[in-house]
């Protein structure tokens, strides 16, 4: 019952008026900033960090956490409405979410993202509150070989995301990994695929790629369709704004499974949270009874990755807080903010600053609740965006893209780059190559390479290290089984082509 005593301590702190105010400011700012393309959690926190220097320590961290998941939520909103994802996770949500929006079901899609996020967040909070220290110890057993095998599994899961041939998905993952090697290599300092330009030394910015491949390519596609553009039905009443009973029933198990996957992967710094949405989506695509609708507006395709993403976002605080080790750039900033406020993260933080630790945990829950309350009334407003005529909407989207990208590094080359990548994205649409798997490849590329090279150094050149270590072996077995099932499925489908393709336009 220590858990409840601890949570009570936390709620004492988090329910204080000032903590709630900072939390509310954080999620509100985060949601509205997250809606702007190009401005993801990292940029938002970077911009807003100095504001928190003047707040009291607990409130400052609560506000940063609020900004963090507010931004993620705002990112999902714009990904669904306009197919403008800013992160890999929101690109997964956009696959089915944007299809739903086109079918006039943006309302249920948006409400479901909120509900699934809330559910995922709530479960993950209990995990964080109850098991943070042992989970952090478990995460330490993940060393280079385990990370490598985990990433291989995640990448193959991403390849399953696509409709059509599995090999196309694989090729897109490989392309993403290849693009991820552009730039100066970390160990030897050798510039790779830079074509002698200084601009490419730092590699391609993820945001530039995702905005180009999704947002800009979507604008080009819509304009090219001209009069044939899908008419979005926006004359919807209140009743159509909220998910139906059937939607809720269909989404429950996917959300629960997604949450489980996310909560587990979140504790593995770096690779884990990035993979979570992809693995959750891929799993649903295998197990859902509605799997044929995936990619055409299946609500399960939103529920599972959203639950996974938000659960992972919460549990990714575990290594940061209990070991004092940041998992990614965002956590590194959070950790820095802790230290600026005179808190030393590390194993002792729970004993030394219990009101801070548990206050933060409780504020996760309150932040999620605020998101829910804040966004339900806003759903109607967000949907109004879709009723703006496209001839007015698209110049505004282009302006947001241009300014959002330029705000990242104030580098005009990034604008030219996003334009070029947008054209490539349009080509991908024409060739029916879905871009989401490419994104995961791009994110994981440096991690995959580093962990592979380290594993080989540690094993002194023996590749058997990946099957000799039990955790690594489990991931490889899961990967091989998954790929086997997919190949079996497509072999069966190729023997009976008519049934599989009957419903396609």
């Amino acid at each position: 019952m220590e858990l409840f005593a601890n949570l009570a301590t936390g709620f004492d702190v988090a329910l204080s008026p000032s903590a709630m105010l900072y939390c509310l400011i954080g999620v509100t700012l985060g949601t509205f900033i997250g809606v702007l393309p190009g401005i993801g959690p990292l940029a938002a926190i970077g911009v807003l960090l100095p504001i928190t220097f003047h707040a009291p320590q607990t409130e400052a961290i609560i506000m940063l956490a609020g900004i963090y998941y507010g931004t993620m939520y705002g990112g999902s909103t714009v990904a669904i409405l306009l197919n403008l994802p800013g992160t890999a996770a929101s690109a997964v949500v956009a696959i089915d979410g944007h299809q739903m929006a086109k079918q006039g079901r943006a309302g249920p899609a948006l409400v479901m993202t909120t509900l699934s996020s809330f559910f995922g967040g709530c479960v993950a909070i209990i995990v964080v509150a109850g098991f943070a220290p042992p989970l952090a110890q478990f995460a330490l057993r993940f060393q280079s070989p385990e990370y490598f095998s985990l990433m291989i599994m995640g990448l193959l899961a991403a390849a399953v995301l696509v409709q059509g041939p599995f090999l196309k998905g694989i090729a897109m993952v490989l392309l993403g990994l290849l693009i991820g090697t552009v730039g100066q290599e970390t160990i030897s300092g050798l510039p790779r695929f830079t074509f002698d330009t200084l601009y490419l030394y730092d590699g391609l910015s993820f945001v530039v790629v995702v905005i180009g491949l999704f947002g800009l390519a979507e604008v080009l596609r819509n304009l090219a369709l001209g009069a044939d553009r899908e008419k979005v039905d926006t004359r919807v009443g209140w009743r159509e704004l909220i998910p139906t009973k059937r939607d809720m029933k269909d989404s429950f198990m996917p959300t629960a499974r997604g949450t489980g996957i996310g909560a587990f992967l979140g504790i593995l710094p770096g690779a884990g949270p990035a993979i979570a949405s992809f693995v959750a989506y891929a799993l649903e695509k295998r197990v859902s009874k509605n799997r044929r609708n995936f990619g055409r507006g299946a609500i399960e395709g939103i529920a599972a990755p959203e639950g996974a993403n938000n659960a992972a976002a919460q549990t990714s605080f575990i290594p940061t807080l209990s070991l004092g080790i940041p998992g990614d750039a965002i956590m590194a900033i959070m950790l820095g903010a802790l230290m600026i406020h005179g808190l030393t993260p590390g194993p002792q933080i729970i004993q030394n600053n219990p009101e801070f630790f548990w206050g933060l945990i409780a504020s996760f829950w309150i932040g999620n609740l605020f998101l829910l309350l804040l966004n339900l009334p806003f759903v109607g407003l967000w949907i109004k965006i879709l009723s703006i005529p496209y001839s007015i909407l698209f110049p505004a989207i282009l302006s947001f893209i241009a300014i959002g990208i330029y705000s990242l590094y104030r580098e005009p080359m990034d604008i030219f780059m996003v334009t070029g990548i947008g054209l490539v994205g349009y080509l991908f649409i024409k060739l029916r190559c879905e871009a989401a798997p490419l994104l995961l490849g791009l994110i994981l590329s440096p991690l995959l390479e580093e962990n592979l090279r380290r594993s080989m150094l540690v094993s002194r050149g023996d590749p058997m290290i990946f099957v000799e270590r039990p955790i690594s072996l489990i991931f490889l077995i899961l990967t091989v089984t998954g790929v086997g099932l997919v190949l079996l499925g497509s072999w069966r489908a190729s023997r009976t082509p008519q049934t599989e393709e009957g419903s396609a336009k």
Binding site: S188, L398, S399, I415, L427
Partner: protein, 161 residues
Amino acid sequence: MNRDDPQTDLLAAAMFMVIGAGAIWIALDYPVGTLRRLGPGALPMGLGVLLLASGLGLAMQALLRARLDPQWQGKPLINLPKLPSIHVIRSTVCVVAGLGLFGLLVRPAGLFLATATLVLVSSRAEAGTPILGSLALAVVIPAACVGIFVYGIGLPFRVWP
């Protein structure tokens, strides 16, 4: 067009094979190292080979599918895409030119004029938009953007030249 269209798959396969081969060719200059000490060329080389192989596999799969499916009997499989229509060329050029001008102007001319130029040029993508409408958008949208990004979030941009 259905989604397992072998013609599209063949074109995609060709693209993957070209990129894979290109990556291998460039990566030949990078040291691959030893199994124990993998060099900077190891991953690009491996990825290039795998990409080439996937492209090949995809092409073979598409050819096999076409042979099994009566729908494709006797039809040409290599079908270069049609030239884009005037409408598509116009919209693409307007968007690309608008963004390009934004990139060129944003430093010297400031955020407002760069965004106004982007809106003015790109809104010509749609043949039906009246020029007055474009001009109106070119005032309203930049003003809103400046309001949101500069005064709302406080990004340190220069608004005017």
